[in-house]
């Protein structure tokens, strides 16, 4: 007799629930107002220029989209790789993935020069552009995730769970590969002209998606007084450790690949040694905060068992992930395009026009608020979802988990 998993709506007190919604609504409203301001005035009110054309909104958008595909992994582990312990986690995984994707896409769209022309983007395609492909990958991901959620929640659809799960897993791999390829195929830019970016984005998505998933899971359970047993927590944090380690590995491969190509040594010197804020973001954010520190916590004999410390490790992975996106997206635009090898650029257009030198970029407040607004949208979708529908299992205690393992 297999043990049934009982799911329940999020039962926190109404004051707390509505308070949370009010805070999220305020964050979203501020983000929306920022977008409106930027669209009305034009992008001159941002830090973006003709040199650094994608700014902080892209950092948030790409992070959220990458994390979205990673968040779905937890469900995949349950259905595709048949790990019974992950089965009760699947529904939240799907919901979070959908929420993060919607949040990321909103930021991306609202940062367009002409967001009012979204319908043009949806009806006119150039299929040699990976961007055009991504429009299908993103909308398809949403549709598949919703279908996947249905197979998990509706008993009549249960038999489809595995095929749909496998399909969703393959689709999410394609999605992150596509997102990484947005950068990987830019032959003109030193930092991007490498195929290793696509798999690196896949591994990053595993880590960032899982870190967000764990934080959301722990917070929602904590607020509702539902138990998470040490066993499942250990599984999740060990998995996070593995993914964070893999991100570090790919980071090394990426830089070694660049260093091997002699023409890229200037760029590597810029990132690793003399790039100012980008060097700081790389070593301090990407490597230390997003890699070594969380690894240290996760594998620490005592801290690795403490759930507050595990939550801290998740938060660090997220912060490090944002720093990594900042370095990948903005650092490589700030680095000058190498047009004239062997020559020093003495002048490039009128004074102030940047070429042959590191381009300055200072993000402005509206950019940051728009990005945070996207996070707010994702969290709002998750909060409402788990409140009105049965997404969260009643208990993840060790006893419950043992029952699941025996049942298979």
């Amino acid at each position: 007799m297999s043990k049934r998993i009982v799911y329940r709506e999020w039962l926190i007190q109404p004051e707390r629930y509505w308070g949370l919604l009010a805070v999220l609504a305020a964050i979203i409203a501020i983000g929306g107002a920022s977008a409106l301001y930027m669209e009305h005035e034009g992008h001159w009110v941002t830090g973006m220029t003709n040199s650094v054309v994608w700014g902080l909104p892209h950092v948030f958008a790409v992070f959220l989209i990458v994390a979205a595909s990673g968040a779905l992994n937890v469900a995949s582990i349950g259905t595709v790789f048949n790990k019974p312990a992950y089965k009760p986690l699947g529904r939240l995984s799907g919901l979070l993935a959908a929420g993060l994707l919607v949040g990321g896409l909103l930021v991306l769209v609202l940062d367009l020069g002409r967001p009012d022309r979204l319908v043009v983007a949806m009806t006119t395609y150039n299929f040699s552009s990976i961007f055009a492909w991504n429009i299908f990958l993103y909308t398809g991901f949403l549709a598949i995730t919703i279908g996947y959620l249905w197979t998990m929640a509706e008993r009549k659809g249960n038999y489809l769970q595995r095929p749909v799960g496998v399909f969703a897993f393959l689709w999410r791999l394609a999605l992150t590969t596509g997102t990484g390829s947005i950068f990987g195929f830019l032959v003109g830019r030193t930092a991007y002209d490498t195929a290793v970016l696509a798999p690196m984005f896949v591994v990053m998505s595993f880590a960032y998606g899982l870190a967000i998933y764990m934080l959301v899971l722990m917070t929602s359970f904590e607020w509702d007084g539902r138990p998470i047993g040490p066993k499942i927590l250990k599984r999740l944090k060990d998995l996070l450790g593995l993914f964070v380690g893999a991100v570090l590995y790919f980071t090394i491969v990426y830089h070694l690949t660049n260093l091997y190509g002699a023409k890229n040594t200037d760029f590597e010197a810029f990132l690793l040694a003399n790039g100012g804020i980008y060097t700081l973001m790389f070593w301090g954010g990407w490597v230390l905060v997003g890699g070594l520190l969380p690894l240290g916590i996760i594998y620490h004999p005592r801290l690795g068992k403490d759930r507050n410390w595990i939550a801290t490790a998740c938060a660090l992975v997220i912060a490090g992930g944002l720093a990594a996106m900042y370095v990948v997206i903005i650092g490589s635009q700030a680095f000058p395009l190498e047009m004239f090898p062997g020559k020093t650029v003495l002048a490039f257009g009128a004074p102030g026009d940047v070429g042959g030198a590191v381009a300055p970029y200072t993000p402005t407040l509206p950019e940051l608020l728009l990005g945070i607004g996207g996070v707010g949208v994702a969290m709002l979708i998750v909060s409402v979802g788990i409140r009105v529908l049965q997404f969260l299992p009643e208990s993840l205690s060790d006893k419950e988990m043992d029952g699941l393992a025996e049942a298979v």
């Binding site: 034009g42 992008h43 220029t49 003709n50 994608w54 020069g113 002409r114 990976i130 791999l173 102030g352």
Partner: protein
């Protein structure tokens, strides 16, 4: 010649990566996308539709030859002429903008670049604009097909379908493109301009479409007596540009990318 195999490999690699991306995307249900695509694919088809009675044809390929030895230090005649011709001088710095940042935000179609050889110390001046590639990366990456190449080789932006994503600016190896960061109050009919779209040098397409085979920058350079910029039809062996190119060796900027640019330089 020794570089030939290298180039071959480079092109092959690019093709492979493109195919691989297609395969990855396709494997996860790109079938549906293709079906929709078959219905929605209109991009770049309009490329040949010129506003004049006769469509633009590929009988010509417009391009330029720049003799850097003739490009005078301190002279900005080409830049000034372009600004006038295409209404770039009408751009107004938004109130409250930071001057230094604005210089990097306003639209620029052509700029004077001054280089110094790291070994010899030799100084070179040259005008840099959209290189009108035969295989333009900006056209490849544009999601809506707004960035397109005309049959006569001119690379430009369809301002009706540009959504302002700026991916073309990421892809361009020459920093040739500008995003309109501010509200536009004044503009010329021949060079419409709108906030939130991307634009760049179009080899004075309006002149060509009126039947005049010249650009403002080349004319201004000649008027100054320098004749550093020669404009013309790269497909016509008797054209001034081909004649000038036949006389001395020239090369493309970022030749390694094999974009077959329509603008060639001597002396770099």
């Amino acid at each position: 010649m020794s570089r030939e195999p290298d180039r071959q490999v480079n092109q092959d690699r690019r093709r492979f990566m493109g195919a691989a991306a297609g395969a990855v995307a396709g494997s996860a249900g790109g079938v549906g996308a293709l079906a929709v695509g078959a219905l929605g694919y209109t991009a770049a088809d309009d490329a040949a539709a010129a506003p004049r009675t006769e469509p633009v044809s590929d009988r010509h390929r417009w391009g330029m030859f720049v003799d850097t030895a003739k490009c005078a230090e301190g002279c900005t005649a080409c830049v000034d002429a372009c600004d006038q011709e295409n209404g770039l001088n009408l751009q107004a710095e938004p109130h409250g903008s930071n001057e230094a940042k604005w210089q990097n935000q306003r639209a620029v179609w052509i700029r004077k670049v001054k280089l110094q050889d790291k070994t010899s110390g030799h100084v070179t001046n040259l005008p840099l604009m959209c290189q009108h590639c035969e295989h333009p990366p900006c056209v490849d990456v544009c999601p809506t097909g707004a960035s397109f190449k005309r049959a006569d080789g001119i690379v430009m932006v369809d301002r009706h379908t540009c959504i302002g994503c700026r991916y073309c600016m990421m892809a361009c190896p020459y920093k040739a493109r500008s995003f309109i960061h501010e509200q536009v109050d004044q503009k010329l009919t021949r060079a419409p301009r709108g906030m939130g779209c991307v634009e760049s040098c179009n080899l004075c397409a309006h002149r060509l479409d009126e039947g005049s085979a010249s650009t403002a920058c080349a004319d201004a350079c000649a008027a100054e007596g320098h004749h550093a910029i020669v404009f013309g039809d790269l497909k016509d062996p008797t054209s001034a540009v081909r004649q000038a190119m036949a006389k001395q060796p020239s090369r493309q900027i970022r030749e390694d990318l094999e974009l077959n640019t329509g603008v060639r330089y001597a002396g770099i």
